[in-house]
């Protein structure tokens, strides 16, 4: 029996470029299943994958950390323990999880950090403001020294969980570093998530409850997204 490969070829071309989504994911799976052990399907898939893999070679090479190969070689080969971080493709989730773990370890550094934040805000009186966006939604604008062209705002609805952060002209935090957002609740900094600006733009939605937060702060942290702040805030905002 001769099978029609029209649909499967089109979807495989998209899939190998990483662009398949929506209903077509299921359509392709269904087609593949219908074709069973299909040599032509494999030939199409491998051919497109080979082509896609070559596209990267159109780019100019980028310098890579000279010690990376040695670090990889030095990493134990054994299987990760059951509770270890998930492998490879969970970078964002790993950072978010580390931020969440911060809830449990922040107490130890809370007092010191709160003092830093209070000092930062107190030394710049009148630099924070709250503007009504709607009868219910609030927009809080962050301020900070040395970040004149940068703007960072948080939108939230009092009494409801969730907040959205939006930044523009945010400077690059540096190689291997990210911005980490903190909510100061009862003097305790609670991690709100880590984010890297893209072309100076930040957009981050968090599920955290802003309800009891007195202040917000932003620090520059290692890309691992530490559970507790390790640097002084570069921006802050007063909520109450």
């Amino acid at each position: 029996m001769s099978l029609d490969h029209t649909t499967i070829e089109e979807l495989l071309a998209v899939q190998t470029l990483g662009g398949l989504d929506g209903d077509d994911v299921e359509v392709l799976a269904r087609e593949r299943a219908a074709h069973g052990d299909c040599d032509e399907c494999r030939r199409l898939e491998d051919g497109f994958a080979e082509t896609a893999g070559r596209l990267g070679f159109s780019l100019d090479p980028e310098p890579v950390d000279a010690g990376m190969a040695d670090r990889i070689i030095g990493t134990p080969i054994e299987a990760p323990p059951p509770n270890a971080d998930p492998p490879s493709d969970d970078l964002s989730q790993r950072r978010e999880r580390r931020a969440v773990r911060g809830w449990h370890v922040l107490v130890a550094v809370a007092a010191a950090f709160a003092l830093i934040v209070v000092a930062a805000v107190t030394l710049r009186p009148g630099t924070t403001s709250i503007v009504d966006a709607s009868p219910s939604q609030q927009i809080v604008r962050f301020e900070g020294d040395g970040t004149d062209s940068a703007s960072l705002a948080m939108a939230y609805t009092p009494g409801r969980p969730g907040a959205v952060f939006w930044g523009r002209n945010m400077p690059d935090p540096g190689e291997g570093q990210v911005y980490e957002i903190w909510m100061i609740q009862d003097g305790t900094p609670v991690g709100g998530g880590c984010v890297s600006p893209r072309d100076g733009t930040i957009a981050l939605a968090v599920d955290a409850d802003i309800g009891t937060t007195e202040q917000m702060a932003v620090t520059v942290e290692d890309a691992a997204c530490p559970a507790a702040p390790t640097t002084a805030p570069i921006m802050s905002a007063q909520l109450v």
Binding site: A13, D60, P61, M68, G176
Partner: protein, 192 residues
Amino acid sequence: MGMTDISEARDRDLLQRLRDRDEEAFRGLFARYAPTAKALAKRVVRQPHLAEEIVQEAFMAVWRNPESYDAERGSVKSWLMGMVHHRAVDLVRREEAHRRRAEDSIPDAIHEVADHAEDVVQQVGLPEERRIVRSALDELPPDQRDVLTLMYFEGLSQSQIAERTSLPLGTVKSRTLLGMRRMRASLEGLER
């Protein structure tokens, strides 16, 4: 796979030696492909430190499990780049989901559309393979090249491309297929 040249044979030899935990073989493969892998990851995720993480994870996977390479299915270099690209796109999609959620909630007054206009390649004085791949891309009809570029280098899905370009989804898919067919035909004679 059809034509297999000295370069590909050397890559396969390095992979074979990796199965015996040959550190020099790993260093050889790393030196050969990590810079291009970094370029690809950086092009997709646009963050140098994230690109570096992606490269490290991809090569870690190679070091830990070189057996996952199947010589019957393609070249070592395409296999490697596929791993890097897959990770980069996954990361972009997750962060895009966060970004989309954020943008949906942002008042119009502070909403800003990012400018993604960028050329794929522009330089001269290139190694032969780089030159040929660029040439093949350049020879694509612009509408096909645009779709391939948005999908592969920008990490956009077919639906996102349709939305961004206001093209019907079917047109995005058909242009992708035509572009990939052309690229495949152009590159089939390229040294592996």
